[in-house]
């Protein structure tokens, strides 16, 4: 028993059946686009400095989901299909929002440059353990040039 199509002439079979592909394809694109930036493409400087690949993926996915939602309603699909499509859109919007907020806002939230050690000042001494548990001091390298790289471990 199929739901009646309230938007137009009734067809024999009523509501459209089968997968609403744009919704699910778009949804997958949004999820893959957002997560793969952090899991995969951060290793490539050009694609990490600005998400040239991932941002278009996420936006394309979002548009696809939006189109799929409209399609679900235009085609008079079942109530369940419409709700599923709407939920997919909601989730896609949330994920897109999170991703863009990180890229354009959160990643810029850094402490002021003002407090950072200045050029032409003497570099502060420190004594830290290396990966073999030996103590390493900056003064051990006096007479050599040193590249100090402060990184954030895993991320």
């Amino acid at each position: 028993m199929n739901a009646a199509n309230l938007n137009g002439p009734e067809t024999v079979r009523g509501a459209a059946r089968g997968w609403n592909h744009p919704v699910w394809l778009g949804f997958v694109l949004v999820v893959v686009g957002a997560t793969s930036y952090f899991l995969v493409f951060v290793r490539y400087p050009l694609l990490r400095d600005f998400p040239w690949l991932n941002l278009p993926l996420v936006l394309a996915g979002l548009l696809l989901v939006a189109w799929g939602v409209r399609r679900a309603f235009d085609q008079g699909r079942t109530l369940g299909a419409k709700i599923a499509a709407a939920l997919a859109l909601l989730f896609s919007l949330a994920l897109t929002g999170l991703f863009t907020t990180y890229i354009f806002y959160l990643s810029y939230q850094l402490p002021a440059d003002r407090g950072v050690a200045q050029i032409q000042t003497v570099a502060a001494e420190f004594a830290l353990q290396d990966q073999n548990q030996h103590t390493v001091r900056l003064s051990d390298y006096r007479g050599q040039k040193v590249v100090l790289v402060f990184y954030r471990g895993f991320w």
Binding site: V42, Y108, V122, L128, Q129, D130, Q131, K145, V147
Partner: protein, 105 residues
């Protein structure tokens, strides 16, 4: 930095990587990524504070970690060059470091 390590060594420089990871984590990472230079554990934050890099609450568990930065220290122990990135995504390129080292005596 490992990708340009030979060039960096040829310029009479050493690389020191500093993060809040433990020596064991650094051991695992240095083996996996074939890192040839020391990775130092700054768990109590003495180095990040000495260089003014503390980023409060930025760690995944809510603690403090350093903002990413690179400093070049000359033979007399003075900071010759530094690079602070404008956001978390951009990293200092090894080629840039090599070019700067070549200009130092």
């Amino acid at each position: 930095m490992q990708s340009r390590y030979d060039e960096i060594k040829a310029l009479d420089a050493e690389v020191l990587g500093i993060s809040a990871d433990t020596p064991t984590e650094n051991q695992d990472f240095s083996q996996a990524a074939k890192i040839e230079f020391p990775l130092l554990s700054d768990q109590d934050g003495q180095a990040m504070d000495a260089f003014g890099l503390r980023h409060s609450g930025a760690s995944l568990d809510g603690g403090d970690i350093a903002r990413p930065a690179v400093f070049l220290v000359d033979r007399e122990g003075k900071i010759a060059w530094r690079m602070l990135t404008p956001n978390l995504r951009v990293r200092v390129r090894p080629e840039t470091v090599v070019a700067q080292l070549a200009q130092m005596h």
